[in-house]
């Protein structure tokens, strides 16, 4: 088992994103640090466009994540609906 992670700046844009990630990934662990959060998860972490859209009430393009992204670990696979980090192949 290996850990993947993603870290975001803390701001108004990322609050609902973080909320959506934690809801969609019950195995994820939130690590709060000054001005940033890091979300750690065993093996896989999935970010879903729909879950974020539900919370913010507008269309969301997953590439918008890049504006507030700090770092990731794991292989990335991104399409229109999901942004997935994993060590599985």
């Amino acid at each position: 088992m290996s850990t993947v992670f993603i870290a975001f700046q803390i701001n108004e844009d990322t609050r609902p994103i973080i909320e959506a990630i934690l809801a969609d990934n019950p195995h994820a662990v939130l690590d709060e640090q000054p001005a940033m959060v890091k979300i750690n998860a065993e093996d896989t972490l999935v970010i879903k466009r729909e879950s974020i859209e539900e919370l913010i009430g507008r269309k969301f393009d997953l590439q918008e994540l890049q504006v507030n992204l700090i770092t990731i670990s794991g292989h990335l696979d991104e399409d229109d609906d999901t942004f997935t980090l994993s060590w599985k192949n």
């Binding site: 290996s2 640090q33 001005a35 940033m36 918008e64 890049q66 700090i70 770092t71």
Partner: protein, 518 residues
């Protein structure tokens, strides 16, 4: 009722395919090898460049859109910082030593990274990596510019910010460490550059630099640095992905690539770790308000994260670099050994150092229970004793440097932290000295490269480091003063101990003025 046909937007994958493929052309009047002369000499075999895919699937149009948004956010904060005396919000002006080290040692590297990725993009025959390298090249020049711009706000008030990129990176003895690292990478071929910078530096090590650094800036009230740092860092996930993609691509293209890639990983892991040892002093000594120790950062970002990465790469036959055993030992010692060195040489530096106070030493004891009290506290105590007598100790003779990493030979033997580690090699009848098995190994593998190293100590002794027109035979010639003048350092203001510095006095006076009416 009219039915309007809605034009369906392209999906991300289709859009990426359209905008990163078929963009180039077949050559007609020159053979392809002449157009891409650097594509094969390193021995990396590529059969199908189209197998390269950027997992972010970022295309140029989206790139501009998101980068513009990042810039707008950044400059809004920088304006607010300047308009509201943001420089008075930091915990203590000691903190600025970390920022000076960043501006003089790291920002110029951003610029070299910009040039290096532009060159890599030019030299790869595949369109996928060309687009990704182009984006990274533009990112890197943005990083250099925004860092210099953001920190120019400190230059209005504090010493030591005035000549980093213009003069000091090429001249100052401790800045030759990061400079030589990038020179080494840039003078290699495009594939080695990608392993050196794209993979080892960006993927394996960058988290150790930026994440604790930015958290540290946030903890210490430095809004300007947090903002440019996060803005730069938001590009970093893409750079890391490019580095990882590159290594997977090389390994999947041909089994013959494995030993070449492994050799580069081994070399660049060690080169990068030596450069980052400067960051260890920042976390353990320079931040007035500490975030985490270097050892903790190393364990989270290197041992755990790097461990997961190397587990994953094992399926290609990649092994964990051998130097990791040394790193596990060094993590307990290196920040202390380095800070002791900086403290006894800051009369020849462009930033201030200081001896840790009692409370800071207790923090270090707690974070380093195996080593701090046993080896390092007594040394700081004795330096403190001298300083209290008005005899603050600075070395009066130049140190011996490692031929490869260019750091003074301050590191100790793997099995004995009380003995300096000496390693030497001979090449074409000339002796060369290195600080460690890692650096010796790198030297012995490519001696022709490292015998050319511009070692500041030797250059000073050759007489190459004075301002034009200096006469070293003149009476009262002071080589240190002339060297510092050549480095654009005003010793009375820029270097030495923080205690008694103009930064200390000014910060206290201005902060006082900000909270009182007289």
């Amino acid at each position: 009722m009219d039915m309007k046909a809605t034009k369906k937007k392209l999906g991300l994958k289709e859009k990426y395919a359209h905008m990163t493929r078929g963009l180039d052309w077949e050559t007609t009047y020159q053979p392809k090898e002449k157009v891409f002369p650097q594509a094969t000499f390193e021995g990396i075999k590529v059969h199908d460049w189209d197998k390269w895919e950027d997992p972010f699937r970022l295309t140029m149009d989206s790139y501009w859109k998101y980068q513009a948004e990042k810039e707008r956010k950044l400059y809004a904060v920088l304006d607010a910082f300047a308009q509201n005396n943001g420089h008075l919000g930091i915990t203590d002006a000691r903190y600025l030593s970390a920022i000076k080290l960043f501006l003089t040692g790291i920002s110029p590297l951003e610029y070299v990274a910009h040039r290096g990725f532009a060159a890599a993009g030019r030299n790869f025959p595949g369109v996928g990596p060309r687009v990704a390298c182009l984006m990274q090249s533009i990112d890197e020049v943005r990083h250099a510019q925004t860092q210099i711009h953001a920190l120019s706000n400190y230059n209005k008030f504090y010493e030591g910010f005035h000549a980093g990129a213009s003069h000091q990176i090429e001249r100052l003895w401790y800045l030759s460490v990061p400079k030589s690292f990038f020179d080494d990478a840039f003078s290699a071929g495009p594939f080695e550059w990608m392993i050196a910078i794209g993979f080892s530096f960006e993927y394996v090590l960058t988290n150790l630099l930026f994440v604790p650094f930015m958290s540290g800036a946030a903890y210490n009230g430095d809004m300007a640095t947090v903002t440019f740092g996060f803005s730069a860092q938001s590009d970093e996930a893409r750079h890391m992905t490019l580095g990882l993609e590159c290594i997977k691509f090389m390994l999947e293209q041909d089994p013959d690539n494995l030993p070449i890639v492994q050799k580069w990983i081994d070399k660049w892991a060690w080169r990068g770790i030596r450069v980052l040892s400067l960051v260890s002093t920042m976390l353990d000594y320079m931040l007035p308000k500490r975030v985490m120790s270097w050892k903790e950062a190393w364990e989270i970002y290197f041992e755990q994260n790097g461990g997961a990465l190397f587990n994953d790469l094992a399926k290609y036959g990649i092994k964990v670099p051998e130097c990791i055993a040394q790193c596990t030992i060094d993590k307990e010692h290196q920040s202390h050994q380095l800070w002791l060195t900086l403290c006894t040489h800051s009369h020849a530096m462009g930033l201030h150092t200081w001896l840790p106070n009692a409370e800071e030493m207790d923090w270090l004891s707690a974070k380093y229970p195996n080593t701090f009290d046993k080896y390092y506290r007594p040394r700081f105590d004795q330096l403190r004793e001298l300083a209290d007598k008005g005899e603050r100790f600075y070395a009066n003779t130049l140190p011996m440097l490692c031929q490869v990493c260019q750091i003074p030979m301050l590191f100790t033997e793997p099995d004995d932290p009380t003995k300096i580690c000496y390693r030497e090699s001979e090449f074409q009848g000339e002796k060369y000295h290195t600080c460690s098995d890692g650096c010796k190994h790198i030297f012995d593998d490519e001696p022709e490269k490292y015998i050319q190293a511009w070692l500041p100590v030797h250059q000073v002794y050759m007489g190459n480091c004075w301002p034009e027109g200096t006469d070293p035979t003149a009476e009262g010639f002071n080589p240190l003063a002339k060297y510092l003048e050549w480095c654009h350092i005003d010793l009375a203001r820029d270097g030495g101990d923080y205690e008694g510095s103009s930064d200390q006095a000014n910060f206290a006076a201005w902060r006082g003025a900000a909270t009182q009416n007289t």
